[in-house]
Assembly symmetry: C2
Homo-oligomer: 205 residues x 2
Amino acid sequence: MDVRKDAAILHAARRLLLQGGPAQLTMEAVAQASGVSKATLYRRWPDRDALLRALVAHEAAPLLHTLHTVPPDEEALVRALVRFLDGLLRFVTRPAYRRYLQAVAALPQRRADLRRIWLLGPQQAVDEVAALLQRYAEQRGAVCAEAPREAEALIGMAMGLDMARVLYQQPPRHQRAAARRCHLVWVVRRFVAGLALGPGRQAGG
Amino acid sequence: MDVRKDAAILHAARRLLLQGGPAQLTMEAVAQASGVSKATLYRRWPDRDALLRALVAHEAAPLLHTLHTVPPDEEALVRALVRFLDGLLRFVTRPAYRRYLQAVAALPQRRADLRRIWLLGPQQAVDEVAALLQRYAEQRGAVCAEAPREAEALIGMAMGLDMARVLYQQPPRHQRAAARRCHLVWVVRRFVAGLALGPGRQAGG
């Protein structure tokens, strides 16, 4: 496996995906844009779906990585959530993301592709926040029965209308890093203060 | 003023706006689609911007109407917010809204138009929720110092990732009216329980 070729393929594929949405991502176009032969490309990824999955996972990994922890106390939970949401807000307010959203919305895209990206991207973010809340609850001998619902509510609270702002070409609510972080600390503290933890199995009667 | 002509104009203009975003909304196209003369159209609306503003205000009015109340107690506040958010979620998950968002995202649109719609639509919704929270606080001799931030957090909590679902062509989280309402009652109760009200001027030392 040639690591440089691998990087060139992912780089070219990512550019195609961000510029035109999944419809632009064909094995033909990726081979051409990365300067590798189609034979090499197919040796590395057996089909286009595998490449698309790898690409979305690769894009989401640095964001989701911040959630892979077992927070020993509330402060650690707050820190992990703020770090994750900060990365998420930076991600969705980049100009490249706006172009990508435009492409996803505008060009005809295969529904199966959109479904795949949805599950590996936004839906996985919700699932991993929910899992973090669950691990936090377990640390305290409790359960977080509404974890998936809580997780999506938190992400929504943090984003507010920023996704609509992207589509309406309005600047994000918090443009400066310090203001964004300050906002997120407020959001996460408000969220954690209202988090309903029920008694765990040991604690039950 | 001929009421039927007025209705025909607004109906045609609305269809153009929803199908192609503001770029499709020209006085020429509206006159043609509504079957009135351009002279009649200009007598009623002096220019296209006035028509666009009227249209967005007309679309937002039934939603915002539910916020025009002074809630005497917490239960009344919860009811008003649930009713508003229910209307909002129904609005953004309609197929017509998806086509509209696609048009907004995809076709070249004048930034001034997008700004205008942003201010009269989403931004006004945030402002009016904030004003409702403020009136509720005042009823209790308190102030809601973070009202605009709280308002946007609430809307975000309620919507969750439903706007992203629209773009990715995924079904909304709660498709049935009863499930959506049940979710919104949970969201609003959780929100109101954590609402920070500070002492009002009379109550202060």
